[in-house]
Point group: C2
Chain length 595, copies 2
């Protein structure tokens, strides 16, 4: 009955303050992909714990919007006598904007915490609903949430230039050059990954993303960092001082944006919060541009590339040891489970030198579990592994050298012809994209069909992109590069591909209640040749782990595909075998044999 | 010295009328791809006869902008003491807009014939140059051009519903539905192909494009046609009357647009002239939308599809007879030339039943001539054909059944390994696109790499799209479908692909001073299957003519590609051989043999 109380409490506050509706989104002050517990107001108020969703509370009703991934989970978690579920995406279900437009009369008041909603969302809303009053200054949930978690706290550490290949000052200069090109006096940077990248600093504020909560304001001469100063030890303080960074308290940022005036300000309305945007907008000219750091960060430096390749060797060793363990144990050991082998794999990564963290929550999914793209094994779901069917493992590590994201699907026993056809087709998809040669100017939208095409020929589709950019000891999902056949503007993953960008290549086949197959390598974009026809680019695969030969129907591969696989496996053996025990080496020799 | 006089005369008019600059574009009242002689003011004034270019005459200077295709030709044709050539596209050469911005002071007057310039071009110009006065009412060249050709004249004929599969009234209803969906009272239609399509009428006003000069205004109850009424005979008059079409004189259109007021008007600013747009804009609300007829026309009716396939059989017979003639004569007959075989081919088409016209000027290009994409043989250039190297033939016909566009490249003698590699790669490109299976929602930009990819792997590119839409007894280039890897908005050829659309598939390799290879088939978009993953589409190849087996290196083809070619050639033989002489049949059997 606690749910009733929370919603009821909020409704009483609404009535008292003459607010007609209160909107609770899922976000933090930084438009982060993963938000920390402090910001989980929607989950607290609705009990629905999914990674996306919006709650709208009227004075006498409450509605939760959840997307297709979460219809079942949300229905289980919310108290339907208090909150009505809106199954986003189903025909006949209005979007939250449509709903607000229909429910709220002219001159109604809609309130929300403007600090956790990106500006562009509210600008769209205002466009549709010009005659509604917006109150965005207050986080009303703070009045209700008594045992609210505190903001995350972790100490900053320096990420040495040996790993990043570029100093803070050089990066700052690059940003200032872009500010000048856009004729802007100020730049507001709120995205956490971009700031960690800029300062060559890391911390541990967000799960699996080694960043710290902060804001940055850059002008022609100064760089201001807003952060909980307790996170800064003497060394970092000295480093920041030497680099002329002016440090302020984290929350001071929200006050300072009210004082800036008569400036031209570069900011990204998709990222900066409405609160910040609107206060700046009052007295300044806003130029809505992608953060310059987005592209600068995505094009890895030579040092980042070399170090990332080292990270992939470490990661390949960890994965190969894990694969040896599973493949040699599964015929006789009947105590293996999703969670037990997942732990084995995570330990292999932890054993690697300069390991920092997992780069995301491991997906270790047996049989039909793997058909759910967002499955994560829990004590309740934990499947016992048998010597049959597929085990899909999508995992990665952060090392000081860089970050990885790899998927392999293992045959745990004999497969049917259809299973082998599906596995081999996914492999063909991976190969086709890996082998692409293309003119500079191409985007993911041009290349996606190379991977998706072979699967479409089976009249099957995977309902996600083929790949995403990946950060360097940062978020495992990074803009602006990616592979996707339909552009989704808010994802910002359709940029022109440029040498130095790293993008995953992860087509798959997912059959509900049956199985899921995915093979994922990372592709480094490199120069191929320049001639009278233009500048040609191609990819170098930098993920090194065997692709399960037990799952392949060799007869379906043409010679070119066989050559690719044999060359790839030779490369895997050469890079990984020096770091293995003798029996693992022998096994790897067999599993990287030419076919 | 006549050139000096013309420019001088215009400059005197400019001075007298206090006009600082006069802009002469290349266009007609209908934004046509090919303009008739009456409209060739730029060619008349500059002597430059290329298909694109703009002339800007100041009171004391004159400048011609020509694109890369025409730099050499323009330099030869213009009198450089009077007109300065601006080589569009070269670095350092300003665009015409940049140039006008730099040369004309505030409050200068720029004049042009607003009836032949599309509205969007002038809207862009006004955006860049808000403080310039525009005079757009008059065609000043008319005062200079004494022997100006008259407007084209040809009689209208009915294009029977047997061929089109849809009546005028049904098409008009479809357009009115789109007007209603866009909440528009009026629709202004000036594009010639769209009107010929709408009325199920054809004529012969434009070379190789069976259309007639006209304008149309549609509202809820009425349909007004503006046309030179002498083009309408008793039968057509009756047909139009029966269909409630109200006929007016052609030039009355320019007066009537000044009288329309308080309406919401659907028109396409990319097509409608600035003169028409601006007069309507004064008293009405303009909704800038693509003409509804563009998409309606591109999605062929079942009757159009069936008839088009018949056209392709006739065309395939003509081409096969031609190919037989060339391939059997070349070893011994040393009198063949580009023009002689071109004439032979055109005669084969003329011999076909219900032939109407060539669908465009034939490209018959031997050896290095074929490396020039826009080559057309003339008496001066006419090459003698020898039993060696490639002959590229790009040609097509209009039949009452429909229109065709086909390219084949023939080996006239032994080829080098590189030539065979290049031919075989172009064939692989054609096959890869032909075999695509894709989800509904795909555009050309998604699929282009299937054709371009194999050629890119040779580090070669063709500097054009892979294919274009094609009209049904209309223009051989038709919006909005096409294959292109970089979207060019003004081309309007990147729409979603829909069953019923017909698009060419014509990758190529062009090596300057060496040779050009192109293979072109037409692809009909058809439904493949619908299941839980979505609606899958694919292509049916509807061009039936042998692909020269003498030019293929079979060892480079994989089994799937061989299967495609063998199936295709079997289809060609089955469809074409019944219409051939015995010796042609035997030859075709050999040239469509399984490999």
């Amino acid at each position: 009955m606690i749910k009733l109380n929370k919603i009821k409490q909020l409704q009483e506050i609404l009535i008292k303050n003459k607010i007609d509706a209160y909107l609770i989104t899922t976000g933090d002050y930084h438009n982060s992909e993963y938000i920390s517990d402090y910001f989980k107001t929607r989950a607290y108020m609705s009990e629905f714990t999914g990674s996306a969703g919006m709650l709208l509370v009227l004075q006498d009703k409450a509605y939760l919007w959840a997307d297709g991934r979460y219809h079942i989970q949300a229905q289980k978690q919310i108290n339907e006598s208090v909150i009505q579920l809106m199954k986003q995406g189903l025909t006949g279900v209005p979007s939250i904007f449509e709903f607000i437009k229909k429910e709220l009369k002219e001159n109604s008041t809609l309130a929300f915490d403007g600090k956790v909603v990106p500006a562009n969302m509210i600008l769209s809303l205002k466009n549709i609903l010009p005659h509604i009053n917006l109150k965005y200054e207050q986080d009303l949930i703070n009045q209700i949430w008594e045992d609210r978690p505190v903001l995350p706290f972790s100490l900053l550490y320096k990420y040495e230039e040996f790993f990043t290949g570029k100093s803070f000052k050089d990066k700052l200069n690059d940003i200032r050059t872009e500010m000048k090109n856009n004729k802007c006096d100020y730049h507001i940077l709120t995205k956490l990954e971009d700031q960690a990248w800029l300062y060559n600093l890391r911390a541990n504020d967000v799960l699996h993303t080694p960043v710290f909560l902060s804001f940055t304001i850059i002008n022609e001469n100064q760089c201001h960092l807003y952060i909980d100063i307790r996170k800064i030890d003497k060394n970092i303080e000295k480093y920041l001082r030497e680099n002329d960074v002016i440090v302020h308290d984290y929350f001071e940022f929200f006050e300072i944006v009210k004082t800036i005036s008569h400036k031209t300000i570069l900011l990204d309305e998709n990222i900066v919060s409405y609160y910040v945007y609107n206060n700046l907008k009052l007295n300044n000219i806003i130029k809505n541009r992608q953060n310059p750091s987005i592209l600068l960060k995505a094009i890895k430096t030579p040092a980042e590339i070399e170090n990332t390749k080292n990270a992939h060797i470490k990661d390949g060793v960890a994965f190969t040891k894990f694969m040896y363990y599973v493949k040699t144990n599964i015929p006789t050991n009947n105590s293996l489970t999703e969670l037990s082998v997942q732990e084995y794999l995570e330990n292999q990564r932890r054993n690697q030198h300069s390991f920092v963290d997992l780069s995301f929550e491991t997906i270790c999914a047996y049989k039909d579990h793997a058909a759910m793209m967002h499955y994560s094994a829990s004590k309740d779901s934990n499947a016992i592994l048998k010597p049959e069917d597929f085990l899909l493992v999508d995992s990665g590590g952060h090392y000081l050298d860089g970050s990885t994201d790899i998927t392999r699907t293992l045959a745990l026993g004999p497969l049917t012809d259809t299973q082998k056809l599906h596995f081999t087709t996914v492999l063909q998809s991976v190969i086709a994209l890996s082998e692409a040669v293309f003119l500079k100017g191409c985007k993911g939208v041009n290349l996606d069909i190379l991977a998706r095409g072979p699967i479409w020929k089976l009249l099957i589709d995977y309902k996600c992109g083929t790949g995403h950019g990946i950060g360097h000891l940062l978020s495992v999902h990074e803009a602006p590069n990616g592979f996707r056949w339909q552009i989704v503007p808010e994802r910002n993953d359709s940029s022109v591909l440029v040498p130095g960008m790293i993008t995953t290549n992860e087509p798959g086949i997912y059959l509900e209640n049956k199985y899921g197959i995915r093979i994922e390598n990372e592709l480094l974009c490199v120069e191929k040749a320049t001639n009278e026809f233009g500048e040609f680019l191609c990819f170098e695969t930098i993920t090194y782990a065997p692709i399960d030969l037990d799952a392949i129907n060799v007869n379906l591969l043409n010679q070119q595909e066989k050559d690719w696989l044999n060359n790839y496996h030779k490369d895997v053996y050469d890079k990984i075998s020096p770091f293995l025990e003798t029996e693992e080496q022998e096994w790897l020799k067999e599993y990287t044999r030419a076919i």
